[in-house]
């Protein structure tokens, strides 16, 4: 910077700086586009009716991924059953009932910590509590419970945000008309906040559907010749299946790996798109 050659005036500095930042942004998004492109390009040719609805055979090197798709579906539904009511109720508490005191602050810190705990630690916890202590075994039930605790912070914080966005005047008017607090929440606040809550729920479940580490020792099976028949059975799941066929099986056909990866991201991203649609439609309709 000492020589005149490098001495830039401030407009040149700005141009250089902006160019540099654009480059950083480009470096961030280019791999994302490449990833999606590669998965669609390579995985698309693997997708067929037999691949979606068939069972794997020949040591997974042939056939389809139906049990893994169904397994991920079961786990997602199971996670929703536990985490959605609890998460929304917890959000209602924080937004409508809690006072600004130490207890509330402790709850908030607990939520932040829950969202930061490594997923494999959730796996350990699920193994300790659900699989061994409560004797649910390696099962859909144990895995769903583990995933729901992991999903909880996402659902709580997004739902709380949606509830808080409902104008205070709505509540005041409802209560002044003689409604009780719960009636106000159920008839006025919840319906208004519903799109935001649904978005949060979907984003939370999307994360649960794609996770591998928490189900590793709580419910995922390497291979099963038939579909699970009860919530106490272990299940195959898409993320774990992709992990297995890309690390544990020698001479695995790349096409099946790509096909599995594509189905997994299609599963997850379709939830993501659904959330976006719900959000934008609600925004368009909203009158406050």
């Amino acid at each position: 910077m000492k020589t005149n050659f490098f001495k830039l005036n401030r407009n040149q500095t700005q141009k250089l700086g902006f160019a540099f930042l654009s480059l950083l942004a480009l470096t961030t998004i280019l791999p994302i586009i490449l990833i999606i492109g590669l998965l669609i390009y390579k995985g698309g040719s693997a997708i067929s009716w037999n691949f979606i609805t068939g069972f794997p055979h020949d040591g997974m090197r042939q056939g389809g991924i139906w049990p893994a798709i169904i397994g991920t579906f079961y786990l997602t539904v199971g996670t929703a059953i536990f985490s959605v009511p609890l998460g929304i109720a917890s959000a209602i508490y924080l937004s409508e009932y809690s006072k600004d005191n130490t207890l509330t602050r402790t709850i908030r810190i607990a939520i932040i910590n829950l969202s930061g705990i490594p997923s494999v630690v959730y796996g350990l916890f699920g193994l300790g509590l659900f699989v061994l202590f409560l004797k649910f075994g390696t099962s859909i039930l144990s895995a769903s419970l583990t995933l729901s605790i992991m999903t909880l912070p996402v659902i709580i914080s997004t739902s709380e945000e949606a509830l808080r966005a409902v104008p205070q005047s709505f509540r005041t008017v409802s209560v002044s008309l003689g409604a009780t607090k719960w009636q106000t929440i159920r008839r006025i606040v919840l319906p208004e906040a519903l799109p935001g809550i649904i978005t949060g729920v979907i984003l939370g479940l999307e994360r649960a559907a794609g996770e591998t580490a928490p189900i590793l020792f709580t419910g995922a099976a390497f291979f099963l010749p038939q579909l699970p028949s009860s919530i106490f059975d272990a299940t195959m799941a898409l993320p774990y299946h992709l992990f297995v066929i890309s690390t544990q099986i020698p001479e695995m056909p790349v096409q099946i790996q790509f096909g599995t990866a594509l189905v997994l991201i299609a599963f997850v991203l379709s939830m993501n798109i659904l959330a976006t649609i719900v959000r934008s439609q609600a925004r368009a309709k909203r009158q406050w």
Binding site: A25, I107, V120, G128, T212, V254, L264
Partner: protein, 298 residues
């Protein structure tokens, strides 16, 4: 009828309050179970052995230093990638990008946040590790570097979205004031907007680090899982093994209640405490700055 409503109201209120405490209950339960299964380690393995440099459970070597060093070196590498890229992208999105570019960038970054890590790991095995092996002429591409590259990328969405939020909350009047004094937009970003958003940006970095240190499946797939001491810079080019990958790889094979089982829970306990420290620090930064701004406003 009246009492009916009252009873219903009473029950529902109780249920909601109970659910409200659930987060505390779960954090406590998780810690409790980690302690219950992890603390016996102290009785079974002498502290000196636990803090030694050899992890080889089959012969009863349970030194966790290699695993800690593996986690540290990969997280450090990931941070070096995610922080400049993430903050740069956040500044670009919040301050410079025209509206149309923002509309493309934000969903793409969110999309990356939504990609399951196992998919990133799969592409890492297929694309990144073979390229590293060829480019750097290494015996194997399954190295700490591969883990750092992928984790840096995976931590990006966290860093970008939190930092961008922080930049967004800087009042517009700050920028207008700087412009009015004759500063260029670039000077305004560096001297006014970024310093004003400092605490949020720090939180973004902390949360990004937390995301990287806790990632399991990706490191398990691409780092080779060799439990060696990785405290030198050159270790970035060798296979390493992290705490998370050790738990994930070995928990399936141990018998319940064995020394090895307890040792893995002990590692989980260490991870839990690390994430606790990272997250409380991150949120403390936010709380402190909120208080300061409240003071300024009142």
């Amino acid at each position: 009828m009246k009492t009916n409503t009252n009873i219903q109201e009473f029950i529902v209120t109780r249920l909601i309050k109970l659910s409200g405490y659930s987060a505390i209950v779960f954090v406590a339960l998780i810690f409790l179970f980690l302690i219950k299964e992890g603390v016996p380690t102290f009785a079974e393995i002498p502290l000196g052995d636990l803090l030694s440099d050899r992890w080889y459970p089959i012969e009863d070597y349970f030194g966790i230093l290699p695993l800690i060093s593996g986690s540290l070196i990969i997280t450090l590498g990931a941070t070096l990638i995610a922080v400049p890229l993430g903050i740069g992208t956040a500044v670009f999105i919040a301050e410079i990008a025209p509206r149309w570019a923002r509309e493309i960038l934000k969903p793409l970054v969110e999309l990356l946040g939504g990609l399951p890590s196992v998919v990133i790991g799969f592409l890492g095995i297929l694309v990144i590790t073979p390229s590293l092996r060829v480019l750097l002429n290494l015996p194997t591409g399954l190295t700490a570097l591969a883990g750092s590259l992928l984790l840096g990328f995976v931590a990006l969405p966290t860093v970008v979205s939190v930092a961008e939020d922080a930049l967004d909350t800087v009042p517009r009047s700050y920028r207008e004031g700087a412009w009015a004094l004759g500063a260029t937009r670039w000077q305004t970003i560096w001297r006014v907007t970024l310093p004003a958003a400092k605490s949020g940006v720090l939180t973004a970095i902390m949360l990004g680090i937390g995301r990287a240190i806790g990632e399991t499946i990706i490191v398990m797939m691409v780092t080779g899982n060799a439990p060696i001491m990785a405290f030198k810079i050159s270790s970035i080019f060798s296979p390493v093994r992290t705490m998370t990958a050790t738990i994930a790889a070995e928990m399936g094979e141990v018998s319940n209640g064995s020394i090895h089982y307890h040792a893995l829970f002990f590692i989980g306990m260490v991870l839990f405490i690390i994430s606790l420290i990272v997250n409380i620090t991150a949120s403390a930064v936010v709380f402190r700055s909120q208080k300061r701004s409240e003071k300024v406003l009142s």
